[in-house]
């Protein structure tokens, strides 16, 4: 197991290096640059050149890349060309917001989707099944930004049940510890802050959960259907095992394996969804920040943010693989 982890982590190095080269080249292909984006259209050519040399952009490309690599190795992620603040600071300030939203969405998707998929499979062809299947199909087909927008218009603007945006009500007393507002409230005993943060999470969480929920429901349904036909389920039933034991230990344990993989792969799409959801609920996460960084041609922010996101994505999938081999002894990967 340890060897697997080490090997997988080592494999990461060339992948991330390759990605950094690609990102580096790709960003330089974007028309304009940080200097002209920051100075605006009316800046003189001299201003632009001065700024570019201040940012180190006048050096040859490979020099820039090696400087970037050297800084990366010393954990110096540079300074945002747009805001002038350290990239790491910008990241740590926003990352918890996105993670909190993403985790909420996945939790909603799993808590609702798994039982729903199970019930749908159990009563195949029944109203529950038809409802779950058509619901999940529609869930996939609604553009996330439209769903987020409609939820906001109806439940926040119209009915006023939920806040229209941001992560906390202004003026609420919340001490920052981890940056996760829900967690901070519990840690510091400010439970009203936790409650408020949760209240703010409801609508964006549901909007972002729409696609994972649909995927997880359908995957659970399909895989339960498959497992129910297995011989070992029949054996377990004919042994006279209690229904609940059969369901939990035999059916669910096997059926959830593909679902766990799906959760890992969904993290990528969550980030894309987050860009849209965050901008509608003015969430202040990394999604909307990257969007702005593209407009501002903020090279340091873009390169490092995307590299970190890729790293997180890969690590989550590694965790999923490990969890997988823990749950299923048949797929111990070597």
């Amino acid at each position: 197991m340890l060897r697997l982890i080490v090997r997988r982590l080592l494999q990461l190095v060339p992948t991330l290096l390759g990605l950094s080269v690609l990102l580096f080249l790709w960003l330089r292909m974007l028309p304009g640059g940080p200097a002209s984006a920051r100075l605006g259209e009316r800046a003189t050519e001299a201003d632009r050149i001065a700024m570019e040399s201040a940012l180190g952009l006048d050096k040859p490309l490979w020099d820039q890349y090696f400087i970037f690599l050297r800084d990366l190795l010393t954990l110096d992620l540079g300074v945002s060309t747009r805001t002038g603040r350290p990239v790491w600071e910008e990241f740590t300030q926003r990352f918890p917001a996105t993670v909190e939203l993403g985790v909420t969405a996945i939790l909603i998707a799993v808590v609702v989707g798994v039982p729903l998929g199970y019930l749908a499979a159990r009563h195949r062809g029944g109203w529950m099944d038809v409802g779950a299947v058509s619901g999940s199909l529609i869930g996939i087909c609604i553009p996330v930004f439209f769903l987020a927008f409609i939820l906001k218009e109806i439940f926040a603007v119209g009915l006023g049940w939920f806040p229209t945006g941001s992560r906390l009500t202004t003026g609420i007393n919340a001490t920052e510890v981890t940056g996760f507002h829900t967690l901070d409230g519990i840690l510091t005993g400010e439970f009203d802050a936790t409650g408020d943060a949760l209240w703010h999470l409801v609508l964006p969480g549901i909007a972002l959960a729409s696609i994972p929920l649909a995927v997880i429901t359908r995957m659970t349904r399909a895989s339960v259907l498959e497992v129910l036909q297995e011989d070992y389920v029949r054996t377990a039933e004919s042994k006279g095992l209690h229904q609940r034991v059969v369901r939990l230990r035999h059916v669910m344990r096997n059926a959830l394996l593909p679902v766990i993989t799906a959760i890992g792969l969904l993290t990528g799409s969550l980030l894309s969804g987050a860009v849209l959801t965050e901008s509608i609920f003015s969430w202040g996460g990394i999604g909307s920040f990257i969007r702005d960084a593209i407009d501002g041609r903020d090279y340091p922010v873009l390169t490092n943010f995307i590299l970190i996101i890729a790293l997180v994505y890969v690590l989550i999938n590694l965790l999923v693989d490990l969890a997988y081999s823990l749950i299923d002894p048949r797929v111990r990967v070597h």
Binding site: R8, Q11, L12, P14, T15, G18, L19, L22, W26, L27, M29, L30, P31, L137, I138, I140, C141, I142, P143, V144, F145, F146, F149, E153, V157, L225, E226, L257, P258, I260, T261, G264, L265, G268, S269, L271, S272, G273, V275, L276, S279, I290, R291, I294, D295, I306, I309, A310, Y313, V314, N317, L318, V320, D321, Y324, V331, V333
Partner: protein
């Protein structure tokens, strides 16, 4: 981000791939014994089906056949995609598809959409750019003209006929979906096919090629797709072509991985073993047998990607990167623009949204039904 990451998924891919593989392609001594006329009834592309006695020849006798004979025989074996009902796999799958309610609903939706996309610009009562200025149509006053006799769905914020714009927009929307899918499919299938072929053709070199390609694909997968699309749009400027390319590129790694996984699953199939034992060259096995049989799941994916492409194009429009040419209204852009006036005229957003959702649903329904029809595990 190694290839192992997707290993848990591969049984699933394999299963789907199996669905696409000819069941009857498994060399079938049993089949030849019990149904000697199977070859005749299904009419394989090989020479006339041999008579019973000849087919019962011993394997040794087969080994004496000339090379051309061997290939013909193999073609015959693989062509006899007989299922228990005596139909080829594709015919059986098509029959299941026809009896599937999901498929029918999906196909009807797609048909209506395609017809609208073709004739839309002709039946549209007004030009999509024609503005009706009647004093009351000033969006800044928050007054919109709702449905009336001359404009069935009302006018938009600039006084343009909403129905006409929707009709004309159907074509743009379909165009974006189809072109993006074609880009993703062609490039993705090339990369995935190359990788799968390299692996299947064996050898250490093949493995290395596959590893390098898959690392690259994994890198693409690790990038959030929408950000990739946004940055492509930033490079190329705003136009319909940009949206198509941006949405298409995002689909490349998915197609590549799918085809490779599918080919990998096929490479272990019995008929490949049979072909190899008949002495068919590896390259021929890969190109003539493995590749065509692996395409099933990829084709299914095309249908599903069409839906995603339409939705992603709308998302790009929402982020302000859509095609702003007023003469080429696209549902995504219409939706994104109408959201600003949602309080005053919610229906302006609801119509294009419904259009997008229903169309995406049509492609998804058909795609899912196709996947089910091709899946041997779900066969009743």
């Amino acid at each position: 981000m190694s290839t192992e990451r997707n290993e848990p998924r591969e049984p699933d891919d394999a299963a789907r791939a199996d669905g696409a593989s000819p069941e009857g392609a498994v060399p079938e001594p049993a089949g030849t014994a019990t149904t000697p006329t199977a070859g005749a009834t299904t009419g394989g592309p090989g020479p006339a089906a041999p008579a019973g006695p000849e087919r019962a020849e011993s394997p040794l006798a087969k080994a004496r056949m000339s090379k051309a004979d061997k290939i013909d025989r193999l073609a015959q074996l693989t062509a006899q995609r007989t299922t228990s009902s005596g139909d080829s796999l594709w015919v059986a799958a098509f029959r299941r598809l026809r009896s599937s309610k999901m498929a029918i609903i999906g196909a009807v939706i797609i048909a209506v959409f395609v017809v609208l996309a073709i004739i839309g610009p002709w039946i549209a009562p007004y030009s999509p750019t024609a503005q009706t200025w009647r004093g009351e149509v000033f969006s800044n006053r928050g007054i919109f003209v709702g449905p009336r006799a001359e404009n069935w769905l009302g006018l938009d914020n600039l006084g343009r006929d909403q129905l006409s714009r929707l009709l004309v927009g159907a074509r743009q929307t379909l165009l974006v979906g189809v072109v993006a899918t074609v880009i993703g499919f062609v490039v993705g299938a090339l990369i995935g096919g190359l990788s799968g072929a390299a692996l299947a053709l064996g050898g250490r070199t093949g493995q290395r090629i596959d590893t390098v390609i898959m690392r690259f694909i994994d890198m693409m997968l690790a990038l959030p797709s929408l950000l990739l699309a946004v940055s492509i749009a930033a490079v190329m400027g705003q136009s319909l072509t940009t949206v198509m390319i941006a949405v298409g590129v995002v689909q490349i790694p998915i197609f590549a991985r799918l085809l490779r996984g599918s080919m990998l699953a096929q490479a272990n199939a019995d008929y490949v073993l049979a072909a190899r034992s008949l002495g068919v060259r590896r390259r021929r096995i890969v190109l003539a047998h493995v590749l065509p049989n692996s395409l099933g799941p990829v084709i299914v994916q095309c249908t599903l990607v069409l839906a995603t492409a339409i939705i992603e194009a709308a998302a790009l429009s929402f982020l302000g990167l859509g095609n702003l040419d007023a003469a080429q209204p696209e549902w995504g852009v219409m939706l994104a623009q109408a959201q600003r006036f949602f309080d005053a005229a919610p229906m302006l957003a609801v119509y294009p949204a419904l259009g997008i959702i229903i169309t995406a649903l049509g492609f998804t329904l058909l795609g899912e039904a196709m996947r089910e029809a091709l899946d041997p595990k779900l066969r009743s």
